[in-house]
Amino acid sequence: MIDFTLSKSQQAARDYAHQVALEEMRPISLECDRTEYIPESFFWNMQRRFWAGAAGQARKQAQEENEKQDNVLSILSQEEMAWGDAALSTAIPGPGLAAPPILSQGTPEQQMRFLGPYMDGQLHWGALALTEPGIGSDVAGMSTTAILDGDEWVINGHKHYITNGARADLIVTFATIDKSLGREGIRPFVVPKGTPGLIAGRIEEKMGLRASQTAELIFENCRIPKDNLLSGRESSKKAGFKAAMGTLDATRPMVGALAVGIARAAYETTREWVCEELPKGSPPQKRREIEDELEELRQKIEMARFLVWRASWMADRRIPNSKEASMSKAYAGELVMKMTAAAVRITAPGENSKRKQFIAKWFRDAKVFDIFEGTAQIQRLVIARRLFPEVDIP
């Protein structure tokens, strides 16, 4: 039955994340952005907050509600976190983007082995290494190789744009076992931190999401145990490629949720600015125009949010959602750019207030949401291919 209201656990997850965003993220947001540094205390506070307290409560309640809703609970809190600070939200300790491929492609034993340590109360991160200097969404051209040598896989290659890459305790790396197979030769491997031959390269300096760590990783004859290959669920040839794409189906709505969170922050702050900081001499007509534009953007924020909710709801129900995941990401990615650009323009007059500093930051943060996890163009390609399954769209 069509329903847009949140259940108790959904509301609890959202409220809790909002509280965290307000208390832990907003106060240090501008400073972390300027210095590209996150204080250790933030990580511990996050660790404490998310493995105890109300988040645990929400999880317990969700189990009582007896519905699989991991994705929905996750995106509800992602939006709030990004409302706080999207860069800081990517740095919260936990398996992060490494979790989806392990959960979807790992055997129960692998899930225990790789994800179990994250529950020990210490600070751990995970990372996902897909992009290479020469490839993005065109994964078929992947050049990182994995060759089986006795009981070990030997990995060689170069990955970049990896969130938390240099602090991750384990990295899910996609590599090809046979280049001649194209995308069907791609497999996901788990590479633990400290493996000889795993080298963290440069940490990128970026326009936005500056507090988020974006690293380069180099694999030089990096040897990992044979059973670090994630292929537990499917043994078909396409399993690895599917894992890569399946990961994106789960993460794209999350990226969409982050974009919605930033857009909402920019919307709210712009409204506050209009109420409290709009220069006195502005003509009434100007105010009307701003109000109209903000109302249009508010409606689009809601639509973006619903697209995200639907894609995640489908993921929880195990309904194939590639098209819907891409829609949510494409729509939200474009919207957050529009919203933050409008915020910069609307608030251009007046003093350089705290609100304007936040808006400037969000504007810089926003652009990447049109780019990572597949650019706006790639999302349209995914949607179009789903709409025209019988047509070959190169």
């Binding site: 409606q299 639509m303 829609m327 390609l381 709409l387 025209f388």
Partner: protein
């Protein structure tokens, strides 16, 4: 708890509406435009499905339908033909407003005739909403009703009132003189003739030609106090108006979906430079964009419809319904324009329905 799947009953009704839309409305769309109205035979068929009498059984109806379900029906009808859908829903809004805002006596008097098994299908209702100074939002309702003893004095204008000429339950949305916003809105039933009342049929319309409409002008028109539906300023009036917003949004989503699917079918068939044009990103991306924006607008609309059924606080409902209507019409306009573009020269011809749909969508404003 979040859920995006219609329930079984909704699926069933939606399928019924879809088959009527595909088998009846779509093939008759162009002909209805030429004739400027729905055919009596089609109204009779629709009456048999029960879709046009969603009223409680004690009033003779086929059973009340919630707003969410009727929104699904509206989309299917709009998918069949936008103008015929507006013809049907425009008529329905007359008795629906009586149901939501009127008292028991008024419901008996005005709704029961629509449910008559013999000739109920011949009857038309209407709800006058937009005015010459604005669109379909409550803040733009400026026509007034002034209390004057045992009668009301009406002043103002109404435009594009579907069935405004020939309907026999002619409901008009007004506000009590001196009120603004959603306070003081009221609905009155007006007669066909009266001093100071001018009703003129709209001619040479851009679109929605198959939904005949009229414009009203009131200059100190006196109507008896009993014409007021329920108590003046009752929230049922606002709920009826927001329901019209929501159902118009549903029709608009259907218009957009029709354009999208028609353009997709064409793009798969039409070959240029040796390949179907759907295989070019210039076309494929356009289609992806249409589909994405339609889904976004539909979700916004569904939320408004569920809010109507949950009876949320009235200002929230008004905001949600008007936003949903606005976004649905935006996608209806852009998708129909894009469909004409994808069909190219063929889109400009009346051999295809695309140009008619483009005019219909623009006429929703």
């Amino acid at each position: 708890m979040l859920d995006f799947a219609p329930n079984e009953e909704q699926e069933e009704v939606r399928n019924l509406a879809r088959s009527v839309a595909v088998e009846q409305l779509r093939p008759q769309g162009r002909d209805a435009e030429r004739k400027g109205d729905i055919s009596p035979a089609l109204m009779q068929t629709l009456a048999q499905t029960g879709l046009t009498t969603p009223f409680p059984e004690e009033l003779g109806g086929s059973g009340a339908i919630d707003a969410m379900t009727y929104t699904l029906i509206a989309e299917e009808l709009g998918f069949g033909d936008g103008a015929l859908a507006m013809n049907i829903i425009g008529s329905l809004m007359g008795p629906v407003t009586v149901l939501v805002a009127g008292d028991e006596h008024q419901q008996q008097e005005y709704i029961t005739p629509f449910c008559d098994k013999q000739d109920g299908y011949e009857r038309r209702g209407s709800l006058a909403f937009a005015e010459r100074t604005g669109g379909y939002t409550l803040a733009e309702v400026n026509a007034t009703a002034r209390e004057d003893g045992d009668r009301y004095i009406l002043n103002g204008t109404k435009r594009d009132v579907i069935h405004g000429w020939e309907s026999s339950t002619r409901v008009v949305l007004l506000r009590k003189e001196g009120t603004t916003g959603s306070d003081g809105l009221c609905a009155l039933i007006i007669p066909a003739r009266g001093e100071g009342l001018q009703i003129s049929a709209d001619v040479q319309k851009l679109g929605l030609v198959a939904a005949p409409s009229a414009s009203y002008s009131f200059t100190d028109v006196a109507v008896p106090a009993s014409s007021m539906l329920g108590v003046a300023g009752n929230s049922g009036v606002i709920r009826a108006a927001t329901l019209y917003n929501i159902l118009r949004g549903g029709v608009a989503c259907g218009m957009a979906r029709a354009a999208l699917e028609y353009a997709m079918d064409y793009a798969k068939e039409r070959v240029a430079f040796g390949r179907p044009i759907a295989s070019y990103q210039g076309i494929a991306f356009m289609v992806a964009e249409m589909a994405m924006k339609l889904d976004a607008a539909r979700l916004l609309l569904w939320r408004a419809a569920t809010s109507w059924d949950r009876d949320v606080e009235i200002d929230t409902l008004v905001q949600e319904a008007e936003a949903a209507q606005h976004q649905a019409i935006e996608i209806a306009k852009s998708a129909t324009i894009d469909a004409v573009q994808i069909l190219g020269g063929a889109g400009f011809l009346q051999d295809h329905p695309a140009e008619m749909w483009m005019r219909n969508a623009a006429a929703m404003e």
